[in-house]
Amino acid sequence: MTVTVHCVPTVAEAAEAVARDRSARYFGGGTLLMRAVNEGADEVGILVRTTDPDLKRITSSGPSITLGAGVTMRAVLADPALAFLHPVARTIGGPALQAQATVGGNLFAPHPYGDMAAALLALDAEAACAGGPSRPLADLLRDTGTAGSQVVRSVSFTRPAAGTFRFRKVTRVRPTGAPVLSVAASIPVVSGRISGARIAWSAMAPRPLRAAEAERALEGCRPDATGIAGALAAAARGLDPPDDALASGWYRAEVAPVHLRRLLLEDGED
């Protein structure tokens, strides 16, 4: 299919352009869409991009942080205030890819990608879409496929307390290969017990998602081997991880508790 590129000044106009044509795709950093274009994908007829500067803005107000959807992994890495996200951004491709890959694009990256999406799920982020109210990122990812029928303007979340956010990526090609699985977690500990834990997987399902059963199992437990045993048992319960060239679904389900244990007991914030 012949590809046409439309460049518009605002996100709102980009969203309208995407909505007008089934073959239109929102063009962020291009790391996903240009692959399709290079392959001559029939479903991509129009690339809609915008020069809206808001998309590249990182704003911080008190504990609240907002990342424009066009913020790149490189920009995340360049911001000391986002140090807790550096271990995530650093593993998403090499430096050249990091200069192009965007936060918004990662939300719609197909399996096995989506490390930043998992991190943002663990941070309980909200996504602001063009022409609509903010909604929990978990809902957006659950309801939306990778085609990107909505145009995300930004994601917002609360800065995690020191030492509570953790991320682990398992890959066969270190340091920046595609993940066998990734797990991100926010593990607040109050009076020696875990309270309000959030755990999110990437590559354990077609889309990144929260590990609700494991989160419930952690509530009120001590952050030690005995305390987290229930969460490990529930780590992959109810999930049907995809098979791919990196790992079978069976393997992913088998090793998920191992890496969750390491994340909970061995890893900490940078």
Partner: protein, 159 residues
């Protein structure tokens, strides 16, 4: 197919070409401009053979929509000295850091970007800087050694 005018600087020289809608920068460099140094490996952003510098920042030209470099500076390995006298080129030769050579232009540009931002990187920084570039011949160690040698000499800026 619709064509758009595109102006940018390639290795310091002004270029003005017409590009097809949706064309990637790699195809523009190779087909329209005639710079064949950036290689088409996977065309998926996975191999790094097409790595160029866009305003000094490494970028994958196969995944870069050509029109997004309007007015910007692009550097390729074609901008390095033709006699191989750049410190990185000399170190690559000294360390046998190229065998088939297909990945070499991308490796050189990734290393150039690193040394311009971090003149004296340690090994981990070199490994990370090259982590998006695949080499199927050398096993990487000669490449890493070459970059570290240049870093140790304090060199690394483009000549």
């Amino acid at each position: 197919m619709a064509q758009k005018p595109l102006q940018f600087r390639l290795n310091g020289a002004e270029k003005a070409v017409f590009v097809e809608d949706g064309a990637n920068l790699l195809d523009v460099l190779r087909r329209s401009v005639g710079d064949l140094t950036a290689k088409r490996g996977c065309a998926q952003g996975g191999c790094g053979a097409c790595t160029v510098l866009i305003d000094g920042v490494p970028g994958l030209s196969c995944l870069t929509l050509a029109e997004t470099v309007e007015g910007r500076s692009v550097a390729t390995a074609g901008g390095l000295p033709g006699d191989g006298s750049h410190p990185l080129q000399e170190a690559f030769m000294a360390h046998f850091a190229a065998q088939c050579g297909f990945c070499t232009p991308g490796m050189l540009m990734a290393a150039t970007a690193l040394l311009e931002s971090t003149p004296h990187p340690d090994r981990d920084q070199v490994v990370h800087a090259l982590s998006g570039n695949i080499c199927r011949c050398t096993g990487y160690e000669p490449i890493i050694a070459a970059v570290l040698e240049v870093a140790g000499e304090g060199g690394g800026g483009r000549s």
